[in-house]
């Protein structure tokens, strides 16, 4: 996970959680408030309804008490009670009277029942008149709701007294219209909806939702994923088994929807702002950390690619942790450098001893490896090769004849000319040397010099017959130095040639055996330089200085090289190695 992502998450997620929690809390409180408001309004409505209901009831009751005293009605009842022969007409008479009363008082239902309960006559308002009601199953309550012929009536009753004795009951009522309530309401009878105002809801849904509600208490329920609030409306409802229940049913979610919409918008904006803030903050903070880190990473990648461990510059950004990191790295780099130097030292010692062992086998070639190395270094310096190459050349040159270890002394130290077979054996030494060094880790860089220092520019050399630049520059340099030292050294069978002669011979081999540029560079080296090599006091540090001086003086003629073979000591080699280390 990127650092920027991590910062973003750690800065935005708390925001988001905070927002979500507060949104939830505010939304809950808003819904609760709206619900409270609704509850209050429903209650107010309920109170108003109840008041009006009471007023209506009082009015109706007064009216009814007057009607109950109606002598004609009493006469009609008397008639019904006494008449035996024409009972239907008697009932008709009573129904006719009831119709008249009902019409005059604007009721929709009127009934007289005997004092014992059974109804005597009843009529209902039909379109254009009144119709008698079948009395068989007619048992309306004294007060409350009842339904007849699929119509719902709200009725009230008064007694009809004769001389202080109740002789009958008069029950009147109007059609119940649930739409007259100011709030959405639903009328339930035994749990079943028989009247409701909500057109978009199915009765079954309402019944299911209200089934869990206590008849006399507030109730919150859900219909179609909306929260509903239901309050019992305190109106005259029947009691007991045959009870009717009138409840308000308000959609709370619909009521609070606009508020919720505003809230949602508000929190959406806040969320977006928080998101932007989180992005900005994480971008800024991560940039201040990620950029120095990226620098460090690039540095490390580079050092991994090159194998170098360059130290960091002192100030890498303003972040303390990063500074600590780079400092730590610097310490580690220093330690690695030190160990690497130790290793180099050990290995130089090893190489030196190898070369020494080689030289020691042949008195005539004593010091040869060292001198070739010195000459090669001088040439490389003159050719402005980098220090890295210089080191490779120096060590490579020291080892260049290592392969001769594997050649019999009989051949190697044979005085006089060699037979072709012997010559062939001698020509094996670069390959042998390569094979020896191949298996030693850390010496890969010198394989080229060891193997190829007998290749010629024109491809006539051995072992591969490489042409021109197929042979690496290092090997070409060592070849020149090797040839020069071979020519200027004394041999049992011949005295060494002078510097000038050797140079002349080298020059004549330009482009054939030797690389011209290398020969030219070597030719330009002054005699002083060569002598210093022979003296065993090499100073690579002052080499460039010497070169610049000698370059101006050019050659001062070739003096005869004096042989100092056998004089080199182990100390001399070590000194060279030490000086070399200091320059790197």
């Amino acid at each position: 996970m990127r650092f920027a992502t991590r910062t973003f998450l750690s800065s935005f997620v708390p925001f988001a959680v905070l927002l979500a929690v507060s949104f939830w809390a505010v939304r809950a409180s808003v819904i609760e408030t709206v619900r409270e408001g609704l509850r209050a309004s429903v209650r107010d409505n309920e109170v108003a309804l109840a008041r009006e209901q009471t007023r209506n009831e009082i009015r109706d009751r007064k009216l009814l008490q007057g009607v109950a005293e109606n002598p004609t009605l009493k006469a009609g009842l008397q008639l019904l009670a006494t008449e035996r022969s024409a009972r239907d007409q008697a009932r008709n008479t009573l129904q006719d009277q009831l119709s008249e009363i009902c019409d005059a008082l604007s009721f929709d239902f009127i009934m007289v029942s005997s004092a014992q309960g059974p109804p005597l006559a009843a009529v209902v308002r039909e379109t254009g008149g009144f119709a008698p009601v079948n009395l068989v199953h007619l048992r309306p309550p004294e007060q409350g709701f009842f339904s007849a012929d699929d119509r719902l009536y709200e009725v009230t009753s008064v007694p009809i007294n004769e001389a202080g004795i109740r002789v009958a009951t008069l029950t009147v009522g109007g059609r119940f219209d649930i739409a007259r309530f100011g709030v959405p309401a639903v009328l339930l009878h035994k749990g079943a909806v028989i009247a409701m105002q909500m057109r978009d809801l199915a009765p079954a849904q309402i019944e299911k939702a209200l089934a869990a509600c206590t008849p006399a208490a507030d109730c919150e329920t859900r219909i179609q994923d909306d929260a509903y609030l239901s309050l019992p409306l305190e109106l005259t409802a029947g009691v007991g088994e045959d009870s009717y229940l009138l409840r308000s049913l308000q959609d709370v979610d619909a009521a609070s929807a606009p508020v919720q919409a505003v809230l949602r918008k508000l929190f959406l904006v806040a969320g977006l702002i928080a998101l932007a803030a989180g992005l900005g903050i994480s971008a800024l903070s991560s940039r201040s950390i990620a950029r120095p880190l990226a620098d460090v990473a690039a540095h490390l990648r580079k050092s991994a690619a090159t194998g170098e461990l360059p130290e960091f510059p002192e100030s890498t950004g303003g972040v303390q942790e990063i500074r600590d990191l780079t400092e730590g790295f610097n310490h580690a780099a220093k330690a690695v450098h030190e160990s690497r130097e130790r290793l180099t030292r050990a290995y130089v010692q090893f190489v030196g001893s190898l070369a020494q062992a080689l030289d020691a086998r042949d008195a005539y070639t004593a010091g040869h490896s060292r001198r070739v190395s010195e000459y090669s270094c001088a040439i490389a310096t003159a050719m402005n090769l980098p220090a890295q190459d210089l080191e490779t050349i120096r060590v490579g040159a020291l080892l260049h004849d290592l392969g001769k270890i594997g050649i019999s002394d009989l051949v190697l130290q044979k005085p006089g000319r060699l037979t072709p077979d012997e010559n062939e054996l001698i020509r094996q030494h670069p390959v042998i040397g390569r094979r020896i060094l191949e298996n030693v880790q850390g010496l890969e860089a010198y394989l080229g010099i060891v193997e190829l220092h007998h290749e010629n520019w024109d491809g006539t050399g051995y072992p591969n017959g490489f042409k021109g630049e197929e042979t690496p520059l290092h090997a070409r340099i060592v070849k020149v130095a090797d040839a020069y030292d071979a020519m200027t050294s004394d041999r049992p069978y011949q005295r060494g040639q002078s510097h000038a002669e050797a140079i002349a011979i080298l020059k004549s081999a330009r482009g054939s055996q030797m690389d011209s540029s290398v020969v030219d560079a070597f030719a330009l080296l002054g005699d002083q330089r060569r002598r210093r090599v022979l003296d065993g006091t090499p100073s690579l540090r002052s080499l460039s200085q010497a070169l610049s001086i000698e370059h101006d003086k050019s050659q001062n003629g070739g003096s005869v090289p004096t042989s100092r073979e056998g004089e080199e000591t182990r100390e001399g080699i070590e000194q060279v190695a030490t000086e070399q280390r200091e320059t790197s």
């Binding site: 004609t72 006469a75 009609g76 008639l79 006494t82 007409q89 008697a90 008479t93 005059a104 008082l105």
Partner: protein, 231 residues
């Protein structure tokens, strides 16, 4: 016979009843339902087109102070109970007459009166039955139905046979009145009783006009509006 001949040769009393304003309040109270339904209440819409015609035709005119001829001109009169109404709602009969009350409605009626001139209660009886009542004494008899308080009729029982109802135009005629001095009485249920003295000779008809209600000087407004108390 002489008397009868003389009577036959008697003169007529004719006259016009003029009613200046509406006197009877027809079902003046609209039903509660009509008010509650906020409908425009049209009072008296079922009354006659000309309310004064109704008033004129509901004036009974008879002679007071003439010879009592109780048995001589007795005619059988009928007051039907139809559509919860007494039809006709005003009859003028001489004393000793018999009035029958047939019930033509499909419901019971119970006809009764509490008037001094004749008090009766016919009891409940269904369609097709009839009850008969004799009215021996003159006076005004208000008739009601126990079962239907809106039903009302008036029977004016007169002392003699010279009695009639004015027609819609207010015209009336009392025929063959023997010469003499009489009091012509005009009675209206609401306006009350009005009297005028008239003298009849054999040759010429007399003319007696009434204006109801009358506020003229001398006669004054008749205060006795209770016909039942009139004698």
């Amino acid at each position: 016979m002489l008397l009868g001949a003389a009577l036959l040769q008697g003169a007529d009393i004719r006259g016009v009843i003029t009613v200046e304003r509406k006197l009877t309040r027809h079902n003046v109270t609209a039903s509660a339902g009509m008010y509650q339904r906020e409908a425009a209440v049209k009072l008296g819409a079922d009354a006659d087109a000309d309310p004064l015609e109704f008033e004129r035709s509901h004036v009974a005119v008879y002679l007071d102070g003439g010879p009592n001829s109780t048995a001589s001109a007795v005619a059988k009169t009928t007051i039907e109970q139809r559509d919860r109404r007494f039809i006709p709602d005003l009859v003028v009969v001489p004393a000793g007459s018999v009035v029958s009350f047939p019930n033509l409605d499909p419901i019971f009626h119970n006809v009764f009166s509490l008037s001094k001139a004749k008090s009766f209660d016919l009891g409940n009886y269904p369609r097709g039955q009839t009850r008969v009542v004799a009215f021996p004494n003159p006076g005004v008899v208000a008739v009601y139905c126990h079962l239907h308080s809106n039903m009302a009729a008036t029977i004016v029982v007169t002392p003699n046979r010279w009695a009639t109802r004015a027609d819609g135009k207010g015209l009336f005629a009392l025929k063959d009145v023997p010469p003499g001095t009489y009091t012509v009485v005009a009675w209206h249920k609401t306006a009350g009783t009005f009297r005028q003295v008239v003298t009849i000779d054999e040759q010429s008809d007399a003319e007696v006009n009434f204006t109801l209600p009358y506020f003229g000087p001398g006669e004054g407004r008749h205060t006795d509006v209770k016909p039942a108390a009139q004698r």
